[in-house]
């Protein structure tokens, strides 16, 4: 049970306060990017390349200009005149805004068509004639380093092959020694496929440049408005758009999940077009444009585990080949090219690990952005949770027993991981025990044994993961040099009502409600009286934005500390008004009172009023506070997930019968909202486990660029999720919270994959790559020559 310190009326932490934002959303009054319509607004559409790798030999602008309503066609050569044809990525690589002569992936932006209507822009896109010399693309990352592979990035100084970078962490020699001496070594090759967040709202913007004021207002779908403003100023400062002349506004966002962090070329071209024409320019991606750009994942991992034959893990080793497309378009902290992949040593206590990664350029879209996941944690967790199951299989132990045997124990925290992290807190045993009890694990195993005798396929899969979120401490974490703090500014008005602004930006997480609850918890002002604002760089304090489950760990902490500054000010005011010493005062949510004389009290509202009307001489008037929170460490949420599947032995259709998720995100701000995050994250974990993958043919064509073939799960595929939690507060976080939004997306895929592999154990299967589909199971069994094996014999 979650204990609340505040009354329901105050609605602080732990209350399932109904969301404030919902009144407008359920009545169709949300304001999303395509709802922004400005006088004189023009429309932009983007012509994209049909080829993965080609020289542009000619762009016949006249062919599009002949369409009624088309005003301009913008090409890379046009942008080159202003030195705007390339831009930096967040990973300090470079990306074409529009190509001058070469296209590097199918669906790359080739030219922008500006027109007086959406229809005319589209007609212009269709009419525009572009001639290409098609070249043989590099599609398979394993062939990108072959001698005969073309050098894809000759534009980069010193670039001699198609390797973008190499990274490693841990102790290579000690790991090699541990592996060579171990009783048991297991290894699996796995691919974490290229997927797309496919938020139901695509990306878009309205760039509104005012020639007279030399001022740009950029309405856009961004999870990080402040960082975007800085990037715009860095890219376009030389043409006059310096940072004070740029205002970025993120209105309501129809889902982000990491896909709305990068600066896509469309945004930049819209700005350029508005700058050149002097009118507002709207660009809204269509779904196919969206799905064929800005991917997540695409890690090829060799995962190995060494241990004793009685189940003690001794070392792990992981080798990654990362397919980044033609540029590193990831959105990781600068010093972490593989993001937080090094969390992949998992929830287990062992001394030795080594990881390395090679990033490869191919003729595919750039990305490596998140998919509801904190910087590559999903890839890491999949690898460690799969290889742990593989190890359990090898030593003949139940996967739950192996996990209990190897878990970091509660009293070992803070725990130093072999790859350098300090896990803040956790109680992994408690989480798994609750999950096992909930599913009645022993009964399930008995049922499974019975079913196997009858040739029926049932599987049970576990995942006990540790996340790493809340980037991050400024000594290590920055994006393009900007430290990854976040901010809160609270202004309480004379009548005791407040507005608070943040450097983050909700895309559905419910910040308007939950941030108000944090402030209510600390100040005792009812959360309904606190208005939350984000997303406008002219008004909100600077922050790095909402992604990687960082809002609660960073901006949430900032809110608590700013509120505590105000509580301290209220205390001084109370001492003054009650004519007592500050030491004689005691706090309860909503008032300061005199110790031993609770009738002598001042409410927070009275104290705020006094701050404007009756403050002591020498005290600064007003009741406002700001805090920029620089976390001392990251937070380490964890979870214990169990999935039960049934598989049709004829067609191999997979049915997720049950899924239990026990999360530990520390203190919970709003149980209803936190649970909603878990539900949604689980469906986004189910998706890559069984349905979603962007598939390319050998010519680099994406084969499933619509929602007819990119299989986003519906309510029918998605099971009824069962969720619960254990509460192990973060010791270093002001409110003991850890972040919740992404744990389920991280933890669910290995639980599902482990369940399916477990179901197929009688066939001798030890691993399958996600997404695991009925057709893939068939092919695997066929390849192994066991399609018609009598599996009842072994049971």
């Amino acid at each position: 049970m979650i204990q609340c310190k505040t009354s329901k009326e105050i609605g602080g932490m732990g209350h399932s306060v109904k969301r404030k934002e919902d009144d407008r959303f359920v009545q169709g009054k949300g304001k999303y990017i395509d709802d922004i319509n400005l006088p004189g607004m023009l429309f932009m559409d983007i012509k994209r390349s049909p080829y993965a790798y080609a020289k542009i030999t000619n762009i016949d602008k006249d062919s599009a200009m002949a369409v009624e309503g088309v005003l301009a066609v913008v090409t890379g050569k046009d942008l080159e005149q202003y030195n705007l044809h390339w831009m930096p990525t967040l990973m300090s690589d470079t990306q074409m805004v529009l190509p001058v002569d070469t296209v590097m992936h199918q669906s790359q932006e080739v030219a922008a068509i500006i027109a007086t209507s959406r229809e005319a822009a589209r007609d212009g896109r269709e009419a525009l004639q572009v001639d290409y010399d098609v070249m043989k693309p590099v599609v398979d990352p394993f062939k990108a380093l072959d001698d005969d592979a073309p050098l894809l990035r000759p534009d980069k100084e010193g670039q001699k092959d198609n390797q973008a970078w190499h990274w490693e962490v841990g102790d290579r020699e000690a790991t090699e020694k541990a592996f060579s001496e171990a009783e048991v070594v297991v290894k699996e090759k796995m691919h974490i496929p290229r997927i797309h967040v496919a938020s139901i709202e695509t990306c878009g913007c309205v760039a509104d440049y005012d020639k007279v004021e030399n001022h740009l207002t950029m309405h856009m779908t961004t999870q990080a408005p402040h960082a975007i403003r800085t990037v715009i100023a860095l890219v376009a400062g030389h043409v006059g758009l310096t940072e004070e002349k740029v205002r970025v506004i993120a209105h309501d966002i129809g889902g982000g999940f990491g896909g709305k962090v990068p600066v896509f070329p469309g945004y930049v071209v819209a700005i350029a077009a508005s700058f050149l024409i002097g009118k507002p320019v709207k660009w809204i991606e269509d779904r196919s444009d969206n799905l064929t750009n800005g991917f997540a994942r695409d890690y090829h991992i060799e995962a190995e585990m060494a241990g004793t034959k009685d189940g003690k893990i001794q070392a792990t080793r992981m080798k990654v080949l990362a397919d980044h497309g033609y540029t590193d378009g990831a959105a990781n902290p600068s010093k972490f090219p593989t993001g937080m992949f090094s969390i992949g040593t998992g929830s287990y206590d062992y001394p030795t690990a080594f990881m390395e990664a090679d990033a490869i350029y191919t003729n595919k879209p750039p990305g490596g952005v998140a998919y509801r996941c904190s910087f590559r944690v999903t890839e890491a967790v999949h690898a460690i949770e799969r290889i742990t199951d593989r190890y359990a299989l090898e030593v003949g132990k139940d996967p739950a027993d192996v996990r209990f045997q190897n878990f970091i124990k509660k009293d070992q925290f803070p725990y130093q991981s072999p790859t350098g992290w300090e896990y803040d807190s956790g109680d992994y045993h408690a989480g798994l025990e609750l999950a096992l009890k909930t599913v009645e694990y022993d009964k399930l195993r008995a049922e499974q044994a019975e079913k196997r005798k009858k040739g029926e396929l049932m599987g049970i899969g576990l995942s006990t993961f540790t996340e790493i979120v809340g980037a991050g401490p400024s000594k290590d974490f920055d994006i393009l040099g900007i430290k990854m703090f976040d901010s809160a500014e609270i202004r309480v008005h004379p009548t005791g009502k407040a507005i608070a602004r943040f450097g983050t930006k909700s895309q559905g997480q419910g910040h308007e409600t939950t941030y108000a609850q944090i402030i209510a918890e600390e100040l005792g002002i009812p959360s309904k009286d606190i208005l939350i604002e984000e997303g406008d760089t002219d008004t909100a304090p600077y922050g790095l934005g909402t992604y990687a489950s960082r809002s609660t760990p960073t901006a949430g902490a900032a809110a608590a500390i700013a509120a505590r500054k105000l509580r301290d000010k209220a205390k001084k005011l109370a001492a003054y008004l009650l004519e007592v010493s500050e030491d004689d005062l005691e706090w309860e949510p909503g008032k300061w009172f005199v110790k031993g004389a609770p009738e002598k009290a001042k409410t927070i509202q009275e104290l705020v009023f006094a701050a404007y009307t009756n403050h002591p001489q020498g005290m600064e008037a007003g009741f406002e506070a700001t805090h920029y929170y620089d976390p001392p460490n990251l937070t380490f949420p964890s979870g214990a997930y169990i999935c039960v599947v049934d598989i049709d032995p004829d067609t191999f259709e997979i049915k997720v019968r049950r899924f239990v998720a026990i999360d530990d995100a520390g203190h919970i701000i709003n149980p209803m909202v936190a649970q909603g995050q878990v539900h949604g994250g689980l469906t986004q974990g189910l998706a890559p486990a069984m349905y979603e993958e962007i598939i390319y043919d050998e010519d680099g064509n994406a084969l499933n660029g619509t929602l007819m073939d990119y299989l986003v799960p519906t309510a029918v595929e998605s099971p009824s999720w069962e969720t619960g939690h254990t509460v192990t507060p973060s010791p270093h976080h002001p409110i003991g919270a850890k972040g919740i939004g992404e744990s389920p997306t991280v933890g669910a895929p290995p639980a599902i994959a482990n369940a399916i592999v477990d179901a197929l154990k009688p066939y001798g299967i030890t691993h399958m790559d996600i997404p695991i589909t009925p057709a893939k199971i068939f092919e695997k069994l066929k390849e192994m020559g066991v399609l018609d094996k009598d599996i009842t014999a072994e049971a």
Binding site: R118, E119, R122, D123, E126, D286, R287, S288, D648, D650, T651, E653, Y691, I695, L703, N704, T706, M708, D709, L711, P713, T714, V716, E717, T773, P774, A775, F778, E779, K782
Partner: protein, 289 residues
Amino acid sequence: MIPASFDYSAPTSLEEALKLLNDLGDEAKILAGGHSLIPMMKLRFAEPEHLVDLNNVPGLSEVSIDGSKLTIGAMAREVDVEDSDDVAKVFPIFKDAAKLIADPQVRNFGTLGGNLAHGDAANDQPAVMIALNAEIEITGLEGSRTVGIDEFFFGFYMTAIQDGEILTKISIPVPSGKSGNAYHKLERKVGDYATAGVAVHLELDDSGTCTHAGIGLTNVNPLPLRAERSQSALVGTKVDDAAIESAAQMASEDCNPSTDLRGSEDYKRRVVKSITKKMIKLALERAQS
């Protein structure tokens, strides 16, 4: 996404519609439910110059059943047949199939006539109509003609409907004795086109011997496919396990699936076999109850 420009007419009688189609020739395309055509136009895979909308033509949406015949007007919506309890008494196969066609909103507008006239072997109703031996009424300026379902599908997106003609009605014989039918498809997720689908209709005499069998297959052949050998393997039997096994095996051998994102040829054959078995059993169960 936006379709290319086109002209639009919404005739209010069949005659007017036919005249328009004859005048316009191959520039014109018929708009029925629009739920196959409009997405193709938005993606600009189809760019007709003129749409002739049949939605305002009266008399094309009737669904009625008597002792001898089920009649479905070409403009009847999928949902009209799905929701009809009278139809479901004899032809539960329509509820089976409808549930798996796209989604409820699409079924509110998509028409049975359009589903057939689109000439797409990935659609579900063609296999159902094959199993049920439907007859298709096609009307031109000269009058109407009736084509058996086996003569209706010609090629990819090609049917017996000629330029200037309209599919107006579907007729299905109502069996006099015991009968049962069923449809299922395997789909990657709900609303998807079939990886493979099977429609089965069985008629039994009083002794339980199969007197007639209709089996249609979805999306495992360039054209909607009748599994003729499988049908023959059931007729004259008591539809025992051996007969079911051999009928299912034949269906898996006689189809011609191609490898694509939904699975390999071999996998689809296996699915055809599995579903054929299950649907024969379900149809049999329904016939016996």
